[in-house]
Amino acid sequence: MKPFAFERARNVDHALSLAAAAPGARFLAGGTNLLDLMKLEIEQPETLIDVGRLPLADISETAGGGLRIGALATNTVVASDPRVRSRYPVLARAILSGASVQLRNKASMGGNLMQRTRCAYFMDPAKPCNKRLPGSGCSAMGGLSQATALFGASEFCVAVSASDMSVALAVLDAEVETVRADGSVRRRPVETLHRLPGDAPQVDTDLAPDELILAVELPPPPSGGQVWRKVRARASYIGALASIAVAGDRVALGAVAARPWRARAAEAALAEGAAPREAAEAELVSASGEDGRKTLVRRLATDAIQESRKGSRS
């Protein structure tokens, strides 16, 4: 681990001014992703700004009938919140399918969204990786790792997002609220918080270095059943081979792109009355990559959409 400076933010303004003053700085929340990457020297921030004690952990009702979840609410607290469980079960289940209980006790809403890819070559500092070292090449292409993107990849990077939670947030049309040192507050849909890699895969999101996530806002849940499914190589404690969140007529896929992938083509097909399998196939028209992965997504999406229709409509 490279030596670094450590600052503890007293309040949000303090955090933002520290960030503005120290260009190489990173926010530290639960640390379950950032510290791991620092130990591997994949992340080498000059300064850590600990935001972990800021009062951003509340979950509250919004005027519009939704839920506002503070950026520092832990994954455990969110998944066990009765309002989340009853109105957004897809979110609770998605969170609970991730990591382990110990990690979820530390992991925060903001940190989970901002976690970096787990591409095996990104995680190995000895290997070329455009995301880690721009211009060095992409080892995943032509490599052994199967977890490559089906959607939105570029010739520079084929990594997928590792966040389960964000797939559920995307299907729920959640928005991320941020603030910068200059006081500007912005809202972005979770769906497009992450950039597609294009020719700059080193940039995960368009958040500015001094931009702090304050909260995630959920609109009222859509009507219809909610389903969460995560396909994985062992029963727990491992990222998805593919995942899916269905809420009413909306579908989002996970572990298939650099962001949670709203399956807009499938949604459009469903709106036109297509059967679940046809909808899944409509989405896969634009997929590139290995056939086996596409088959998995087709079967998974078909089954999950069917299940959501069987489930009780709320």
Partner: protein, 754 residues
Amino acid sequence: MSTVRDWAAPNPITENRSGLIGKPVDRYEGRLKVTGTAPYAFEVETPSAPLYGHIVSATIARGRIAGIDLSQAASAPGVVLVWSHLNVPVQAQRGAKLNPRSQRGSNPALGSDRVEHYGQSVAFILADTPENARAAEARIRITYEASDADLDFGSFIDSAGPVPGEEDARIGDFEAGYSASAVTVDATWFSPLQNHAQMEPCATTAWWEGDKVVVHTSIQMVKGGQHALAETLGIPSDRVRLLTRYIGGGFGGKGQSYDDLTLAALAARESGRPVRVAYTRRQMFQATVHRPAVQMRVRLGADGTGRLNAMALEAVTHCARNSTFVEHAAEFARNLYAAPHRLTGHRLVRLDIPHAGAMRAPGEAPGMLSLECAMDELADRLGMDPIALRIRNEPEVDPDNAKPFSIRQLVRCMQEGAQQFGWDRRNPTPGAVRDGRWYVGMGMATAIRGNFLLPAKAGLRLTGDGLATLTQGMTDIGTGTYTILAQITGETLGLPLDQVRVELGDSDMPPAPGSGGQFGAATAGSAAFETGMVMRRRLAELATSDPRSPLYGEDPLLMDFANGNIVLGNRSESLATLASRAGPEGVYVEGSISPAADARDWSQHTYGAQFAEVGVDSVTGEVRLRRMFGVFAAGRILNAKLAKSQITGGMIWGVGAALTESNAVDPRYGSFLHQDLGGYLAPVHADIVNLDAVLLDEADDKANPMGIKGVGELGICGSGAAIANAVYNACGVRLRDYPLTPDKVLAALEAKGL
């Protein structure tokens, strides 16, 4: 030399009067471990503040170091010294033995500019903190001259060569027998490269006391490590004291020493300070040994009743170019089932990857993943129950050498297992049982693993406080050796457990061969038992020849030992009194065990039957274990709890072998795809639901004086095959390429139109 007859007489262990043998007592060192106070090699106290070493690993598969610039690193904060092959202190040539009796030869680090595999040590940094040592790595500039490397096992399988000094084992005429068989199976299985993934990385703390080096290191074999270091440094082994008191997992991967030991000792000498060196998690994958991949072709020929006429298991495996190791995946098949025409053998491919080496049940673990599934296929083809097929082919004597079995309860294992597991509820038609989205199926396989006894010694001291302290240059790699040695010593001397101490893992102690090949308990335990018997005789002589003893003048052979006393009729004297009369040091004896001269006149194995029920997700191809049960026969059981832990731990590893564990060499770099526990998938708790095992009552009087056998490796044998057979029973898909990951299962389901 003794013979097995000498072991047949009743003794304190077989009589087990105080009931310590078999008792499920807790781990001797359990409290230290769960409270985090057991000092592992990296954590032992040092005589003065230590320095920290970090090893820099090669990033090419094969070639040479054309240039290496250490100057920037040498001036980095906190750095004390930096070594490459250019300036590392002199060490003996690899493999050199000054002392021909050394168990291991020299193991130099940074010995030359040659790179023989990715991850090989190429530089070493010593600094005041581990962070500074690691941070300085970025300042080392290395240029390599890479040469062509053979990395892809698959592309060399067809050109695999014979194993030096080995021939195929042929009995009868396999080809003729096979072609004359009414029903046949001919299929090929693949077991991938696997890593040990021990929790504790290889680590050493070293310091010098004059011309003698003291090393605490994580190793399974005390003498092997001591000798390797002595040979590397070119000094007599009595100038190396090696200690290894607590080990966080070995599994065969720590059967030898690595560069942490060599470099810690050298750096401590050079710096005059204690030095700690640990491998990183990546280095554990890349710079220690692994279980090599094995391709196995099995051919079975049977008559219409299922009687085997011919069987062959031909295995192709790999090892490093300059370090021969053979995963003997076909060997177990020689002893398992009767068939007049037999062929087994191994072929070897040399690759430029890290060294292949022993991993829990080397041979059987991958090997049984083939034959035990081939038997399932044969049963299916014959329309026979898989257990009935195996019973039909149960041999009366060892089919390899016609030796009688010391004891073989394989059929009983299968029958009891079938009953307790509910095998009769298995629907033999694949794909017939559904539970919602899940196909559900059951499978079984047998387990066999050899039993061994090696020469070993032990020391035992009885002191005036009534404590008996057993000392042995043995290791406890997390298996429970401390605990069973305490039980054996307590039972032999008639002492309660709280009066027994066990001290292990020190090269100054009477030597034992260490932990490996599931010979540890039988070997170290028998030496402890014999030493206890020596102590009994000594104490009996002391008592009966001393006028101050109430037993004075009696026949020493008539003495009994119970409750901390030496006893004859209603007269007794406490062992504490006896020991204090003997002097301030108490009474010290040594004892030893050697294999009986005729031990190998019997075929000696441990056996088991494994049963699994799995679910296969009909949508995604995910396989999940629903329950697993095994019945095993492994001699007298010393500690029911520890033996079961070993057995179920092995079964769980088999679950990993069947479903998740594998590594692959990236042909572009020569590195492993997975170099951490997030990518290399061992089973987690959620994967293991409802798994249990029972051990049959057994005593093997040909094994050793206590009639015990090893249990450390038996549990993994056949475990994965039971799961693969259950997958077939669940969904009708035969997958022969382990592990059975969702992508493979799904492709097979699709191919079947499911």
